[in-house]
């Protein structure tokens, strides 16, 4: 399975995301923000970082990169798309998922090992987990507070579209402790913490993050993607 990893100017975790894909047994394909096509990939990851310096609003400028056009088209067609951190912000700015990410409530960048529960396991990116499974992966962001209006929140809760929730003290002020959500169809996931930094316990707090990458591979092998 070929998984595209997009590099925008200012993207930082592209190498890590590619490493995680390869580690899980997939084949990472580098995609450049100016590319007009997706080089035949089966899924795409928008990695973390400070694309365009996170100026204006995180993800606001990169959301209009040329590569986003084919990505949006394919994702609306069912291609698995994972936005991590800055990638999540890009997804929100592109309105591929509802809501927005705003400044952490304590107004600092925060990097810490974060416990999450996985609350939705039937989607492209989380099928390797069990429902309610607790995982530990790094969280690192300055604007990670998930915000949406009450109706959207009720809808997300009602439809089980919350992929992962923070355990314990709210790290950034996200509504309902939301760490990640999915679109209605379940192929697009935005996740604030960083599974690509938790693929082995040598360099991360655990290997729990690998599950996101094996999920998409397994779903692909099982033919359930798209």
């Amino acid at each position: 399975m070929k998984i595209g990893v997009v590099t925008f100017p200012g993207t930082l975790d592209d190498r890590d995301a590619a490493r995680a894909v390869n580690h899980a047994g997939g084949q990472a394909v580098a995609l450049w923000h100016n590319d007009a096509d997706l080089r035949g990939v089966d899924a795409v990851i928008l990695p973390g970082g400070f694309s365009y310096g996170d100026y204006l609003r995180c993800g606001a400028i990169s959301r209009f990169s040329p590569v986003m056009e084919p990505i949006i088209k394919a994702a609306l067609d069912g291609m698995p798309l994972l936005g991590i951190c800055n990638g999540f912000q890009v997804l929100a700015e592109a309105h591929l998922i509802p809501g927005a990410l705003t400044r952490n409530h304590e107004l600092h960048f925060l990097c810490r090992d974060q416990k999450l529960t996985i609350e939705n396991t039937n989607k492209a990116w989380t099928s390797s987990f069990t429902h309610g499974q607790e995982i530990l992966i790094p969280l690192k962001n300055g604007e990670g507070a998930y915000m949406c209006d009450d109706n959207t929140l009720a809808m997300l809760e009602g439809e089980g579209r919350i992929i992962a929730r923070y355990v314990g003290e709210n790290p950034n002020g996200s509504r309902n402790l939301i760490a990640g959500i999915t679109n209605e169809r379940g192929n697009i996931v935005g996740l604030m913490p960083h599974p690509e930094h938790a693929i082995d316990s040598l360099t991360g707090p655990s290997a729990d993050g690998l599950g996101f990458f094996t999920s998409v591979l397994n779903s692909f092998l099982a033919g359930s993607v798209k």
Binding site: P9, G10, L12, F50, Y52, E106, F109, L110, L202
Partner: protein, 743 residues
């Protein structure tokens, strides 16, 4: 004032010039005239003034720093030595590592966020310039008292600035220091270290060789930032059409720097440059003169081609501007098209501003008029050298006579309150409030970071080769005895590398001192340099580079002498490192090294307002045996954990160890007060599986290393003799200080 040209300088040799306002002494000005055989043009004057400033020319420190070269051990590990932007060390497997610390103290006091941010930006460009990919940063910081109002202004801004810039560059922050002392009030120290890695064949140097090669400026446009690093007044002495005031602060754009890094690495990978230099202090004055004198000496630059952010800048200002995020490369004409293409890909502004010439003149024109014609070496390297008067300050003998008289705990209640007090004191308290604002995971190779003894990153994913770096300074000891203080800081940094099992390889330093014009400060400086040079010689470690920051003082009060020493080590397989603490019960705890009555300069004495006494004397032979033992023990897998003792002594070390994985310990100590609080150097606590005791008890004495069994791991408290401190209470004390102080 109209454009001052070389022709005009010859025509009216006696025109008066504002050399004093630019920070030049009359004799320095006279030297410039002598070199040129005429008065300098205003542009030349601008160049000499910034390049001959203390900051760029090291005029007060040079005579001392040369010991680092003279006393150095000969080592093949040093691929590039002092003098280049950063030294380069061979770490094996074809890899070379470069690292360096720099200060950005004064700007960080004026504007904490931007000062610290641009400090990080500057050191990262130094590392990039060597051809290396930057892979990690560290930030040794020092502040006034933790509860002082100005510290509350300065510290959050500096921390946010270090994080704001470093995080945006995608560089993991793998360590640093946060230290508080009255003398840093008004003089915070912001030192930033960067590590980079490359293959041997990729090393780049700052030299402009080959007549006909092009001089290329790329990166951010030039603005009026930081003009006249030597004196903010400087720019105002030149009349210009622009706004009356040039910005007193440089503002960084980390996004531009991130793009500049990736763009440069792509350019390096295709071997498109002959030489390269970042633009830091003294901007284009420095880059052009250093590149030219690093080559054969000839260069022509058309200054009017420099892309400007502020079109009102005069040539003098352009030469002095310290605008961030710029690089200058020497490129063969056949390679320029590809060079421009890569810059375009990354959307980086790039301009050919000149070419390398035969001969040894650096000629700069402004709209075809010659405004600079100098031998570049005289600007870059032949600056004034001062042998400033030095004298041992009177306080040295006085403090040596002071007898430390602090309460030493004996009862369970006293032990408990002492341990809790130390755990919570700002200098020893948990630094997560700071380090949580730094990305330590990016790049996916961080093996160790806060709160480990050293930062460690993997540099090869297949072989698991890695490097470790630690920075240390003990200004209290340096105050009592600068010579020993420097050696002790060196030993501590090396030990912090070795506890993990990495082998120390090379040294960098950032020497933060008061005014060199004060003979007492100059003596502290000279003694520190002598101590560091002697220490490095004895330990067989080369100094690969560093930085001097003088004038850190408020009125007549100088900061404590603060030589921050960085040591880099190598570890052949990061998976086998010895962790800083234990994650299970049932291990034996041993103290390696002897404990003497070393309370002078200790944290406990400081907490009791006692700053006198006699600093410990460094025993580097003993330190080296200990280091070797720790490195060998890692290979033989003897240690389950190892953590060194420094500020706060055994009390602090035990606190940090039990809290790391929330596994308690029970220890039994004779002479408990001194054992807990003395800061005798050369000590490490190790945890071992009982099955390894034989190996330990045989080998330590064989290496003449004192060994004391102090206890066992396990439980949910730290038990010291009769005192039982719950981990919950200890954690509360250790972790609440910064939150309380800074929100």
């Amino acid at each position: 004032m109209s454009l001052d040209t070389v022709a005009k300088a010859q025509e009216n040799p006696d025109a008066s010039q504002p050399f004093a306002e630019l920070g030049l002494k009359p004799d320095e000005y006279a030297r410039i005239k002598e070199i040129l055989g005429r008065r300098p043009t205003s542009s030349e004057l601008a160049m000499y003034s910034v390049m001959w400033s203390e900051h760029c020319s090291y005029k007060s420190s040079k005579v001392h720093l040369k010991q680092f070269g003279e006393k150095a051990v000969k080592t093949d590990a040093l691929l590039v030595g002092i003098g280049e932007n950063a030294g380069v060390v061979d770490v094996g497997q074809g890899y070379a590592v470069t690292f360096k610390i720099e200060s950005h103290n004064h700007p960080s006091f004026i504007e904490p966020y931007q000062g610290a941010a641009t400090g990080v930006g500057g050191i990262v460009r130094d590392i990039l310039t060597m051809g290396a990919r930057p892979i990690a940063v560290m930030d040794p910081l020092r502040f006034g008292p933790a509860d002082a109002a100005d510290t509350r202004r300065v510290l959050p801004g500096i921390v946010a600035g270090v994080g704001g810039y470093g995080n945006c560059l995608g560089l993991p922050n793998i360590g640093g220091e946060v230290v508080f002392d009255e003398t840093y009030l008004g003089n915070p120290l912001v030192n930033a270290l960067c590590v980079g890695v490359m293959k041997h064949s990729d090393i780049k140097l700052a030299k402009a060789a080959g007549a006909g090669n092009l001089v290329v400026l790329y990166g951010a446009k030039t603005g009026g930032d930081g003009i006249g690093g030597v004196s903010v007044l400087a720019s105002e002495t030149f009349e210009s059409k622009g706004p009356a005031k040039r910005p007193a602060v440089q503002v960084g754009d980390p996004f531009v720097e991130k793009v500049l890094i990736e763009c440069s690495l792509e350019i390096f990978a295709e071997d498109l440059v002959v030489g390269i230099q970042d633009l830091g202090g003294a901007g284009l004055s420095c880059a052009t003169s250093e590149l030219a004198s690093g080559g054969s000496g000839g260069m022509k630059v058309q200054l009017d081609k420099v892309p400007l952010r502020d079109p009102s800048l005069s040539p003098e200002e352009i030469l002095m501007s310290e605008s961030q995020e710029r690089m200058c490369a020497i490129v063969e004409p056949s390679k320029i098209d590809r060079f421009l293409e890569i810059c375009e890909k990354w959307d980086v502004t790039v301009t050919v501003i000149g070419e390398v010439t035969d001969g040894n003149h650096l000629e700069i024109t402004w709209n075809d008029e010659l405004i600079v014609d100098v031998p570049p070496r005289t600007v870059a390297h032949d600056g004034p050298v001062y042998n400033r008067p030095l004298a041992q300050p009177a306080y040295i003998d006085a403090v040596a006579k002071e007898v430390i008289n602090v309460p030493l705990p004996t009862t369970a209640v006293e032990i408990t309150s002492t341990v809790l007090k130390l755990a919570a004191t700002p200098n020893l308290a948990d630094k997560s409030w700071v380090t949580d604002q730094y990305d330590r995971y990016v790049q996916g190779n961080t093996i160790q970071s806060q709160p480990d003894d050293s930062g460690m990153v993997r540099i090869d994913e297949k072989t698991h080769l890695g490097v470790a770096v630690a920075t240390d300074a003990n200004a209290n000891w340096s105050y009592l005895n600068p010579y020993e203080g420097a050696k002790l800081a060196l030993a501590e940094a090396a030990r912090n590398i070795a506890t993990a099992g990495a082998k120390p390889l090379a040294v960098t330093n950032c020497l933060n001192f008061g005014s060199p014009e004060d003979p007492g400060v100059m003596w502290q400086f000279a003694e520190s340099v002598r101590g560091l040079a002697d220490g490095c010689l004895e330990m067989g470690l080369p100094v690969t580079g560093g930085n001097v920051s003088f004038y850190n003082q408020t009125g007549s009060v100088a900061i404590l002498p603060t030589p921050v020493i960085g040591v880099l080590g190598v570890i052949d397989d990061v998976r086998t490192r010895t962790p800083m603490s234990f994650d299970r019960a049932g291990l034996d705890l041993y103290l390696l090294g002897e404990t003497h009555s070393d309370l002078a300069g200790s944290e406990w004495a400081y907490l009791h307002n006692q700053r006198g006494g006699v600093a410990p004397v460094a025993d580097l032979q003993r330190e080296m045996r200990l280091i070797e033992f720790l490195v060998a023990g890692r290979t033989k897998k003897i240690f389950a954990a190892a953590h060194d003792l420094s500020q706060g002594g055994l009390a602090a070390t035990l606190t940090e160890m039990v809290l790391r994985h929330n596994i308690g310990a029970t220890v039994q100590l004779d002479n408990v007060g001194l054992m807990l609080l003395s800061e005798t150097p050369g000590r490490v606590v190790v945890a071992i599986d009982p099955s390894q005791s034989a190996a330990l008890t045989q080998e330590a004495p064989a290496q003449k290393i004192a060994l004391t069994k102090i206890g066992v791991t396990g439980g949910d408290s730290l038990v010291i003799n009769d005192a039982k401190i719950s981990l919950t209470e200890l954690r509360q004390a250790h972790t609440s200080t910064f939150k309380k102080l800074f929100g």
